[in-house]
Amino acid sequence: MLVIDGLAKQYPTGDRALKGVSLTVPKGQIMALIGPSGAGKSTLIRCVNRLVEPTAGRVSLDGQDLTRLSRRGLRRARRRMGMIFQEFALIERLTVMENVLSGRLGYVGFWRSWLRRFPAADVAAAFSLLERVGLAGFEDKRADALSGGQRQRVGIARALLQNPSLLLVDEPTASLDPKTSRQIMRLLRELCRERGLAAIINIHDVALAQMFAERIVGLKLGEIVYDGPADGLTADVLTTIYGEEDWSQTIRPADEDGDEDAPAIPPHEPAVPIDRERLAGLT
């Protein structure tokens, strides 16, 4: 369970990205974090694993206070938080297998990782994860030879090989086309359910957030302005988060979720591309 209490971040430039955010994410919950650009979404998830140092407040994961850890303690704690990135952040010139195995860097010593001699159990786990994300046989391809969707699958496998209890997901679909975006979100949801993982997913696409997350938190100017179930996202709420706009096309009926899980998706997907444009116009 992740507990965030009064988290604040002020950058040296004076920008107050977070103004005292408090949140509790129970085990196994998939939470989407929505909000306009500059609302502090990226800062919030980076403050959790301290890629960005928070200025004030506390973050604790399964009872351990992350904000007071030493360097060594922080490295150990980071192993339990898998991170997935918008631009995938794969090591472009390394192979898919090296990228996935880099998820074990927090567990193995420098010489083993330098010589690429990872423990046999790690390699076996990496192979089965690659199969699970649909990339069996890709282990020796270089990461820069893959398509966007394939790269994000490698990124997911890398994060899961850490054996985390929490996933921090930063705009997983912003560099992907609408269909691949849904596939990636579906894969993330399935994997979280299989492994009982909690996830915080930053996402611009409100429709995708509603489709795949059970809880939605709206962030605006560093403060939480909405925290509730996906179907509680009304036009009024969206206006509070993003500002005045015609939201009628964005809000989806709840049963759409079930449709999207069906394997056969018609090639022309209803309404969603329009939503993306509308949201892109906002940013």
Binding site: R75, A89, S102, L105, Y107
Partner: protein, 273 residues
Amino acid sequence: MSTVSTPAAMERARRWRPPPLIANPLLRWGILLAGAAYLYLALNGIPVNWARLSEGLERGGRFVAGFLNPNFTGRLDELVDGFAESVVMTVVATVLGILVSVPVALGAARNLAPRPVYYVCRGLIALSRTFQEIIIAILFVAMFGFGPFAGVLTLTFSTIGFLSKLLAEDIEDIDRGQMEAIRATGGSWLQLLNYGVQPQVMPRLIGLSLYRLDINFRESAVIGIVGAGGIGATLNTAFDRYEYDVAAAILLVIILVVMAAEYSSSAIRRWVQ
């Protein structure tokens, strides 16, 4: 609309010229005039000694004659020894230079090093780049005496300035996301270098090293003239003895070796990229 009567009138109204670099016309023409006056005065200030010029041309003629008739066999031993020395100096200095440059470059990269380390490493680079090879060579020859040892030190020192600076700049340009991803897995600092930095800068490091090998060979010929060993020393001796045919042979071999080195290093760099 009523304002535009014919297409031709519209054409005239829409004429456009690029804005001048300096907006004030007085300043613009003033600078131009001052530049022209300075050029005239400067040209007048160069004394031309026609007698010496014709003498030099005569000597140049003898040199060209020697060049057209290069003598490879006359001092073959010295030529071979000089080249062997230059090659050894080049390779040793380049390898030593790379070994020192990599840590210096890591320290001189703003995105990796803490501030104090950054300033120390940047200072070292600046020191190495301030002085031309010949000045450093003169200093080292004065310190350690004539011979290739001073030459190796000179080339190593200037390699550090060159490689560290360019490598550090490449490190500063790497994709932050890849570093962030490695930090997020809980990797240590060395693992961050090995996974997050090294794959991104390796092609550049190999390319720069080969390029520097090239430069070091050329420089080894130059610094020999001030007494730091290698083929330059042999060349200097040949000129001192007025043996222009031998000097021509040495120059021709230098040209061939430099061309071969340049061709092969650029081929390898293409393959690495």
